[in-house]
């Protein structure tokens, strides 16, 4: 049967999904191989570096695809579809956390569900570029942060970001330019160290 063995690696994401819709389980395994790590990193970066949560979200995402593969339109790009679902899941999580934070009546006034106070060791770690970057990113609004993360952490193109966030490419360029300039100026002190 080697003669008829399918080489799944040569197929595009969209073709693999069309195979999977027809019942080809191996096609999904190939898709997971391509995007499993990708999505864990995406969720990890979007959900406060919480690796456990990121894995749970990744499992939930792929379970959704297994349950309803026909939801994917094979004429569209799979990657952007996948990131759109992931982005929506993150938004839902943000809302859920926000709601939970606002409805914790048992907490005294002035206390929050998530501890935002900066610990001493964190202040020391902030001396590194990566921690500073994470801190500065957390200070940005979601619109700019999403564009930056999708571009630099997930490697999406301007067009793909526009499709995922359902905005036009010009807006993406504008936001990306703004956030890059802002972060570059704020983290300029690390220039000599890196160089």
């Amino acid at each position: 049967m080697r003669l008829f063995k399918k080489k799944y690696k040569i197929y595009s994401d969209e073709e693999l999904m069309s195979f999977f819709i027809k019942g080809d389980r191996k096609a999904f395994e190939q898709i997971y191989e391509r995007y499993g790590n990708y999505m864990v990193n995406y969720f990890n970066s979007k959900l406060w570096q919480d690796r456990e949560k990121a894995e749970d979200f990744t499992q939930e995402l792929f379970s959704k695809i297994i349950d309803r593969p026909a939801m994917f339109d094979t004429t569209k790009k799979f990657k952007t579809w996948l990131f759109t679902i992931a982005s929506n899941m993150c938004k839902n999580e943000y809302k859920r956390v926000e709601i939970r934070k606002n409805h914790r009546n048992d907490l005294p006034i002035g206390f929050e569900a998530r501890d935002t106070t900066e610990l001493q060791d964190k202040k020391v770690d902030k001396n590194t570029f990566s921690d500073s970057l994470q801190f500065e990113l957390s200070q940005l609004n979601d619109k700019h942060k999403d564009v930056f993360v999708l571009r630099h952490f997930d490697g999406l193109s301007i067009k793909e970001i526009a499709e995922v966030l359902e905005i036009n490419a010009g807006t993406v360029k504008s936001r990306l330019h703004h956030v890059t300039k802002t972060l570059a100026s704020k983290l300029a002190m690390y220039r000599k160290i890196i160089a």
């Binding site: 049967m1 003669l3 008829f4 063995k5 399918k6 040569i10 197929y11 195979f19 027809k22 019942g23 080809d24 389980r25 191996k26 999904f28 395994e29 997971y32 499993g36 790590n37 864990v40 990193n41 990890n44 970066s45 690796r51 990121a54 894995e55 990744t58 499992q59 792929f62 379970s63 297994i66 349950d67 570029f129 990566s130 970057l133 571009r151 630099h152 952490f153 193109s157 301007i158 330019h177 890059t180 300039k181 972060l183 570059a184 100026s185 983290l187 300029a188 690390y190 220039r191 890196i194 160089a195």
Partner: protein, 324 residues
């Protein structure tokens, strides 16, 4: 993105005029350019260092869920289609394409050499056969009609001859009359005239009805002593016989036509035959025939009429009308 790539890979003094124009949005001076370069490279390093891999537990969870949900077997034709249409080859190297061309060549050669000519000849032969059959049928019908016409003419001529004979030899004919009566009387027990299948089936009679008709036939025959006056009566009767025969023939023929068109006698069921109304109707008709036969006292003439009637089958009449 092209701008990011330029900033990461080049120094400021290496930039061309076009590249300078492209990066001007991000860095207008060399210091800004270096600042941006440093930021982008640091970000790239940070992202690479922070990358994590999915744990084996996560992989197992996802694939187990897949196995639970998808027990469906992969259709065999996916593999066959892949074999027939491989993606990494040009279309003329597809096995499906090559097989198609080969089969077209084989079929084309086969059709050119044998099959096409054979088919044409066969179709032409069948057409000729059909035309011939139709034409033959037409000819047969016309021949049958001509034959019937000739037989009728012959019968009329014979009838005229009988008339002439009666005129010339009335006394001998009177004697023949007795002989005929005797013959009929003798043949009563052995007669097969009414029990004849052709006769009974033609008139749509059952065996019982046929027997009844036979009895009536013989009852109606006048058994009288020979008298001289009978010869005169006979001559007078025979003078009008031709007209009467023709009239009777026409009436019988018309009845036959009506019967053949409406209900073919051969198609009557036993139940129909046994029904009282139908039986009575046929009995009435049989009676009239028997009376007319006894009236003419000419067995030959009656037989001639019957012959004509029997030959006038429903199929023949139908064909006759078609030809007309």
């Amino acid at each position: 993105m092209k701008v990011e790539h330029i900033i990461k890979t080049k120094h400021y003094f290496e930039l061309t005029a076009e590249e300078l124009a492209e990066v001007s949005n991000y860095a207008s001076t060399e210091m800004e350019f270096d600042e941006m370069k440093s930021f982008l490279m640091s970000t790239e390093q940070t992202v690479n260092s922070q990358k994590i891999s999915s744990t084996p537990e996560l992989d197992d969870k996802v694939l187990n869920y897949l196995n639970q949900s998808y027990t469906q077997v992969v259709p065999w034709y996916n593999s066959v289609l892949l074999f027939l249409f491989p993606r990494d080859k040009q279309f003329f190297k597809y096995p499906a394409f090559q097989l198609g061309i080969a089969s077209l060549l084989v079929l084309g050669v086969f059709n050119l050499v044998n099959f096409s000519s054979f088919n044409e000849a066969k179709i032409a032969f069948e057409d000729v056969q059909k035309i011939k059959t139709k034409e033959q049928l037409r000819i047969e019908v016309v021949e049958k009609l001509k034959q019937n016409e000739a037989e009728i003419k012959q019968m009329l001529i014979e009838s005229e001859l009988v008339d002439d004979e009666i005129e010339t030899r009335p006394s001998e004919f009177a004697k023949e009359k007795h002989l005929i009566q005797d013959e009929l009387a003798l043949g009563k027990d052995n007669s097969s005239l009414f029990k004849d299948n052709t006769f009974s089936s033609f008139y749509g009679l059952s065996d019982d009805v046929a027997e009844e008709v036979e009895d009536l036939y013989y009852e109606e025959l006048p058994v009288v002593e020979y008298d001289k006056k009978m010869d005169d009566d006979l001559i007078e009767l025979e003078d009008n016989s031709e007209d009467l025969i023709e009239a009777e023939y026409e009436s019988v023929a018309v009845v036959n036509v009506a019967q053949s068109v409406s209900v073919p006698p051969m198609q009557l069921s036993r139940k129909d035959m046994d029904s009282e109304a139908l039986g009575n109707k046929k009995l009435e008709r049989a009676k009239s025939i028997a009376v007319s036969e006894s009236k003419f006292k000419s067995i030959e003439s009656i037989k001639a009429i019957k012959q004509v009637s029997i030959q006038s089958t429903p199929e023949l009449f139908q064909l006759f009308f078609e030809v007309k």
